[in-house]
């Protein structure tokens, strides 16, 4: 019944335990938030799910298939797309080329180049970057880079999207725009979303369920209101100076 499921995932770097026996599950079509203070292990969990790191222990299942040992590109072809906390578009490629790489990466057999270009433009338009097609990605500002990255991830035709702090560094109007984007992603592309946010802001309004990590351990899980009231969560966030 889970679209994506992680069982007892542990990961450490040298002496630092970044994840300790973490369990989670996401249902098809759900928007799930992953929150936790600085260094809680959120990004590490994404990296493990997306195949950047192998977990020391535990397994990951996609549609009940064990995908723990697959590489990033294999997971992407199976339908897991992700964005990065610090956006990483290809700096020396144009915005259009950035998205073309995703479309090429699908390795579909029949596909003429005009169609590919049209499709790439469609994704650029989706994130309101249609006027920037021929601009090198390194010349974009932070928000545009984040949007380009979302478009690039979408262009892989994912079933699940992992979004790492899309709202960080955005002001209120920009956050509103981003929220609209997220909602359209759900409605137009029917993508299941797993979402990292550092602060308990907007995510509480959109996510259907929240998972809270602290020091590599899952300390709470549930509906946004329940989680916000959980004393363990409040305590974890008290120690965090950024909030």
């Amino acid at each position: 019944m889970w679209k994506l499921k992680g069982e007892n995932i542990s990961k450490s770097f040298g002496g630092v335990t970044a994840l300790k026996e973490v369990n989670f599950g996401i249902k098809e079509g759900e928007i799930v938030g992953l929150i936790g203070p600085n260094g809680a292990g959120k990004t590490t969990l994404f990296n493990v799910v997306a195949g950047v790191y192998r977990p020391d222990k535990g397994s990951i299942y996609l549609d009940d298939e064990n995908v723990t040992n697959l590489n990033s590109h294999q997971l992407c072809r199976k339908g897991i797309a992700r964005t990065f906390q610090i956006p990483r578009p290809f700096p020396e490629l144009t915005c259009l080329e950035n998205i073309m790489v995703s479309i090429i990466g699908r390795e579909e057999k029949i596909h003429n180049s005009n169609e590919k270009l049209k499709e790439a433009k469609k994704f650029l338009k989706f994130v309101d970057l249609d006027n920037y097609g021929n601009i090198l990605a390194k010349n974009l500002n932070l928000i545009q880079k984040k949007r380009l990255e979302v478009a690039r991830a979408l262009a892989t035709n994912p079933k699940i999207m992992l979004l790492d702090e899309v709202f960080a560094g955005l002001n209120n109007t920009e956050i509103r725009d981003a929220v609209k984007l997220i909602e359209r992603m759900k409605n137009e592309f029917e993508i299941t979303q797993f979402w990292i946010e550092h602060v308990m802001g907007v995510i509480m309004e959109i996510a259907e369920r929240i998972i809270v990590l602290d020091n590599g351990e899952k300390i709470s899980e549930g509906k946004p209101i329940e989680v916000a009231r959980d004393p363990k969560v409040i305590e974890a966030y008290l120690g965090d100076t950024d909030v």
Binding site: A50, G51, V52, N71, S72, H73, C76, R77, A81, R82, F84, R88, P89, F90, P91, E92, L93, T94, E97, M100, V101, S102, I104, G105, R106, E107, S113, N134, I135, L136, N139, R152, A153, A155, T156
Partner: protein, 319 residues
């Protein structure tokens, strides 16, 4: 620069190149042939370093493999060099594929150190296996055509150079080229959107090895005497220096670099033993102060004259 202008320049340049045998004396025609060899070598090394971000130090060694395989086969089995040439290229490609598969899953640094080792080993084997390779004496190999004509050889080299440059240009513009560039730009991001980065790098490495093997064979059947010097690190350095001085990551860079260094070599012949030192210092200066090389400088000059905003949209890579 406007497209039509650029095309006109290109046509004039090609016209001059095609007429070279009528403009140059015998010696300079020889230099021109060598230059074409280096154009192929630098361009194919550039496919690797400039477009996928992997530094191989075995490019000269692959050329030597091509030359020796083709040479030995044609001498010992009396097969026509036109056929053995292909064998040389295939063997180089196989070595490239093997080395690529061996190292590339572990990241670029392993490719560099393994190819450096490989290059030394090829050098040592050629020197030591005297009975097969004639060691430092050099191996005499037959002429490609069966008759000796510098002019004919020049046109053959030129044709091959055209074909290879054309092929590289097509490749870089193709979907494969875009994959190469994505890997060069950001490996992690590329793999996150479904690009098999190891496969992409192995493919690029194999293609470039095959080209080096072919070019080496052609070169050998022109020189008629091939020596272990072909696989030396000095040769490797020349290829690398040409690419860097010309402009890495552009199609025209290695061509410009090869021509520049070959012609410069001729003019500073009297300083024979300072050659490599001088080229080394020039390349270090280029990396430090003009990382785009000759092509980068040229673009900077022409662009700032025409339209400053254009820099924003110009892709660094040639199309």
């Amino acid at each position: 620069m406007k497209k039509s202008n650029k095309n006109l320049l290109l046509v004039i340049f090609l016209g001059i190149v095609v007429c070279l045998p009528f403009l140059l004396d015998d010696y300079w025609l020889h230099v021109a042939i060598l230059t074409l060899f280096y154009v192929i070598m630098a361009s194919s090394w550039n496919l690797l370093a400039g477009y996928t971000g992997q530094v191989s130090f075995a490019h000269a060694a692959f050329a030597a493999i091509g030359a020796y395989i083709s040479g030995i086969l044609s001498v010992q089995m009396s097969i026509s060099p036109l056929i053995t040439l292909l064998f040389g290229s295939v063997i180089a490609a196989i070595f490239g594929l093997g080395l690529g598969l061996l190292c590339l899953k572990m990241g670029g640094i392993y490719l560099s150190l393994t190819t450096l080792g490989f290059s030394e080993i090829v050098h040592i084997i050629i020197k030591n296996e005297y009975e097969i390779t004639r060691g430092t004496m050099g191996l005499e190999v037959p002429n490609l055509l069966g008759f000796y004509s510098k002019t004919a050889y020049f046109y053959i080299m030129l044709l091959v150079t055209f074909i290879i440059i054309f092929f590289l240009a097509k490749l870089i513009k193709s979907d494969h080229g875009l994959k190469f560039k994505s890997v060069l730009n950001d490996e992690l991001a590329a793999s996150s959107i479904g690009i098999d980065t190891v496969k992409v790098r192995v493919i690029a490495f194999t293609i470039s090895s095959a080209i080096a093997g072919f070019a080496g064979g052609l070169y050998g059947h022109y020189l008629l005497l091939i020596t272990p010097e072909m696989s030396s690190l000095s040769q490797m350095f020349m290829i690398l220096a040409m690419t860097i001085i010309g402009g890495m990551g552009t199609l025209s860079g290695p061509i410009a670099g090869a021509v520049f260094l070959q012609v410069l070599s001729e003019y500073i012949r009297i300083f024979g033993k300072f050659h490599l030192l001088l080229f080394g210092v020039i390349s270090l200066l280029v990396i430090k102060f003009a990382p785009g090389g000759i092509v980068g400088l040229y673009r900077k000059i022409t662009q700032s004259k025409t339209d400053p905003l254009k820099i924003e949209t110009q892709s660094k890579y040639d199309y």
